[in-house]
Structure formats: structure tokens, C-alpha cells
Subunit: 260 residues, 2 copies
């Protein structure tokens, strides 16, 4: 299993991904799911992946090498270099999302098809985030069929993988106008919820924080198994939760001794 | 969709169920999903149902009327009355859970089979709670195949239906030693999370609280759409959540102005 979260706020973009992969419950491993696709002064593009690891790696590989020309030709050397088939050439993040969707469709038609032939259901979905030129950061969710949606201020986050356990805290607390350091706390609490309820989501976590203001650099960080900040946040949250429920008045139709 | 929650604490049993049913997103209705199966001085047995409404009603009907004798005979009038095929005759809650499992299997073989024949996937799962005689309250989850598990102190709750959104707060906060009025708050917060994240779960909620000490009566209550206590609990919880995240220190590798 996997849980990846992207949050797009006025102040910037945050992406967080766990690293656990498993085939059944007895074959656990740890793989990076937050990938740097392009990191140049004029463009930074990142992706989080959920689904089959071989499918994910095929898609990332296709994107790194550049997609073959439309029409199914594979003679990449001979094709025109101005076909804009790589993320380095994409003029906008929307165009980048289209290329990622196309790469997913290619993986479906190759690796996915081979797996379906032996009755293995295989898929990959992705979060794509970053910015090109002087644009603001943007964030997309690319579904397993290659279609995609863009994150908008009304609901300033997108999730893939094991999304449900970590969603209520975001629904309740996250807002587009929040400072980045507050949003990071909500993101970590969302992961803490998912990790407590599903063994298939686990630290280390990989994260990046890309401020909208270009004067601040993009931060990338790995949160290890024993990260003291994350442990402290989780402990405090449990304590505050108990304090909060104690501070909520008792139901008026029950007294402390039992139902009235 | 549906969400039903049973909590079995040292202090007693709590069962909560929503009332929303829907076929698609444009056919919503409200049906009671917390059913009183037996309510006598010496035994009180309740069930919450999730799944197809017609299947649920078939199962409840079978249990109210008494199951036909084993072997598939339907000549109930002629059968021996001492076969213990009704919940009123079940000697223990374990035996009651067996009967409920059998009723589910019968509904699978009749209504379920008819629906499968026209390619409609139909199922029902249930929470069964209550007590017989002077025993402590007990709680079971009966799966859609009719097999079942019993709630134990290590994880003092069982859920059916849309379970994931409301699980993290229970994983974090609920304990077997908690007083009933505190557990009711956790139960309501769990429902509040599920209702915010899935339109298919909605008030009114039905609940019952059965204290372990028989001197206190069992409380049943409907929480309506505009229940002021529930609204206040939800508002306070959102406020406390924001206070809590503000009180959690900022990540040491970020300052308030952005990533360091």
C-alpha cells in the first residue's frame, strides 16, 4: 500500500509520500515514491506514485527518457526534436500532466497488458507537482487511466493510495490561506492517522516544500522512522485529542454515572 | 452507504448507526439501521445493518420469525419448538451470533442469489450487541458470509460500512476503561469524520447505551439533523483541532517565513 499527499496553498506546494511497498503482508520493502522528474533553475517537476512498483518505474523511466513520437513510432533518434515529448520541453504544467497521462497509458498498454494476461491487476496513479518558469506552483492528480484533475483552492489537497484514514483531518483543518509550516503539521497528522490504521503505510516519509515566492528555496527532507519531530507531533496530538474530548461537555442526556 | 459503530467497554455497550440509504447519488432516503431484535427483562439484543436494504430486511425478518429448522425444511409449524431457532431461545450471545450468521447465509441463498442472477452484487453485514440474563454485554461483527468475530478489550470497537474515515480517532483515543459518556463523544467524533468525508453517511443517527451495571437502564436516542449537542461537539472539535495544531511546535527545519 501507499499514501501520498499533495497540498497546494497560496503560500506554496507541499508533497509528502511514504516509502513502504508490499506484496502481501510478508514481503515488505522500502522504495522512494517521491521522484524528482526535472530540477533546473527554470523548472522543477516532482511526482508521487501509487500502485504497482514495476508500472511506476516504467512510467518514470518513460518520462526521463522522453516519450516516443505520437503514432506509436519508436525511432526516437530520427524524430523531430521539437515535438515537446519530454518534461524538459513542456511549456506548461498542464502540458507536463498530459505527458504523464500519456506515459501511464503506454505503461498500461505494455507492462499492464502483460500482467493482465496472467490475471494480475496492475495500475499506477500519480501526483504531479511543480512549476515552470515564473508561474505559481501547481498540482495534478493523474488517474490510472491517464486522465487527470488539477488542484484548486476550494479543496487544497489531492491524495493517492490509502487516502481515507488521513482525509478527515485535512477536510476539517487544511485551508488554502494557511502558512506552509501549519500545513506541514496537518500533512504529518494525516500521515500519522494513515500509518496507525494501515500497516501498509509507513515511515520513512519523503517530503518537499516549494514556496510560491521564488526567493525561498525548495526544501526536500526525509522523515526517518525515529524522527524526533514527528514522534513529538504524534504524542502531542494524542494528548491534545484527549484534552479536547474531556473539554467537550458531556451529553446532556447522560451523566457521568451512566445514562440518565 | 452506511456507517455503524459498536464500542464494548468495561462500563458497557454503545451502538451507533446512521440512517442514510442511497442507490447512486440521486436516490437518497432514510431508514433505521439500528434494530431492536429482542427487548425483554432477561434479554436485550440489538443489531446494526450495512449493505443492501432488501437483504438487511430479509435477515431481520428471518430473525423475528425464527429460522426454519436445519436441513432446509420450511414446515415451521410442524417442527419441534425446542430447536432454539429464535433469538428469544438462544442461551448465549454466541448462539445468537450463530443464528444471525445463519440468517445471513439464508438471505444470500435466496435474495442474494436472485440479485446475482441479474448481475447485482448484494450483501449484508451486521453488528450484533446485547446481553442475555445476567451476563455482561457483548458485541459481534457478522460478516457477509455469515462468519463472525467477537469484540475484545484490546480493540474495544467494531465497525461496518464506511469504516475508514472514522477509524483513526478511535484508534487514537478509545480505550476499554473509558467511561461511557467519554466513549459517546469519541463515537460521535468518529461519525462526524465519516459524515464530512462521505455524503453517503448522514444524520439522523440512532444510538443505544447499555451500561454493564444492570441498575442503570439502557438508553436509546435518535440524534436528529439539527441536534444541538452534536453540532456543538463538532464545532468545538474543529476549534480544538486548530488550537492543537497551533500549539504543536513548528518543524525545526522550517521557520514561519518559509523553509529554512
Amino acid at each position: 500500500m501507499t499514501y501520498c499527499l499533495g497540498m497546494l496553498l497560496d503560500a506554496g506546494l507541499i508533497m509528502i509520500a511514504d516509502t513502504r511497498t508490499n506484496a502481501g503482508v510478508d514481503n515488505f520493502s522500502s522504495f522512494k515514491k517521491l521522484h524528482t522528474l526535472v530540477d533546473e533553475p527554470s523548472r522543477s517537476i516532482y511526482a508521487c506514485t501509487a500502485g504497482s512498483l514495476s508500472m511506476s518505474q516504467s512510467v518514470i523511466g518513460l518520462l526521463q527518457e522522453g516519450l516516443p513520437p505520437p503514432g506509436g513510432g519508436v525511432d526516437r533518434e530520427a524524430s523531430s526534436p521539437d515535438l515537446n515529448r519530454t518534461l524538459k520541453d513542456a511549456a506548461t504544467m498542464f502540458r507536463a500532466a498530459q505527458l504523464v497521462g500519456e506515459a501511464i497509458q503506454m505503461a498500461n498498454a505494455t507492462v499492464g497488458q502483460a500482467l493482465r494476461a496472467i490475471n494480475i491487476d496492475s495500475w499506477v496513479s500519480m501526483l504531479l507537482g511543480g512549476r515552470i518558469g515564473d508561474g505559481r506552483p501547481s498540482l495534478f492528480l493523474i488517474y490510472s487511466a491517464g486522465n487527470f484533475i488539477e488542484c484548486t483552492p476550494e479543496v487544497p489537497f489531492l491524495q493517492i493510495g490509502e487516502t481515507k484514514y488521513g482525509k478527515p483531518i485535512l477536510d476539517r483543518g487544511l485551508s488554502h490561506s494557511m502558512p506552509l509550516h501549519e500545513a506541514v503539521k496537518f500533512g504529518f497528522l494525516s500521515f500519522d492517522s494513515a500509518m496507525r490504521s494501515n500497516l501498509g503505510v509507513a515511515r520513512p516519509l519523503d517530503m518537499l516544500v516549494m514556496p510560491t515566492h521564488r526567493t525561498s528555496p525548495t526544501l526536500t527532507r526525509r522523515i526517518e522512522q525515529d524522527d524526533p519531530y514527528f514522534d513529538d507531533l504524534s504524542d502531542r496530538w494524542s494528548r491534545y485529542l484527549h484534552q479536547a474530548t474531556e473539554n467537550i461537555p458531556n451529553p446532556p442526556w447522560m451523566d457521568a454515572a451512566g445514562p440518565a
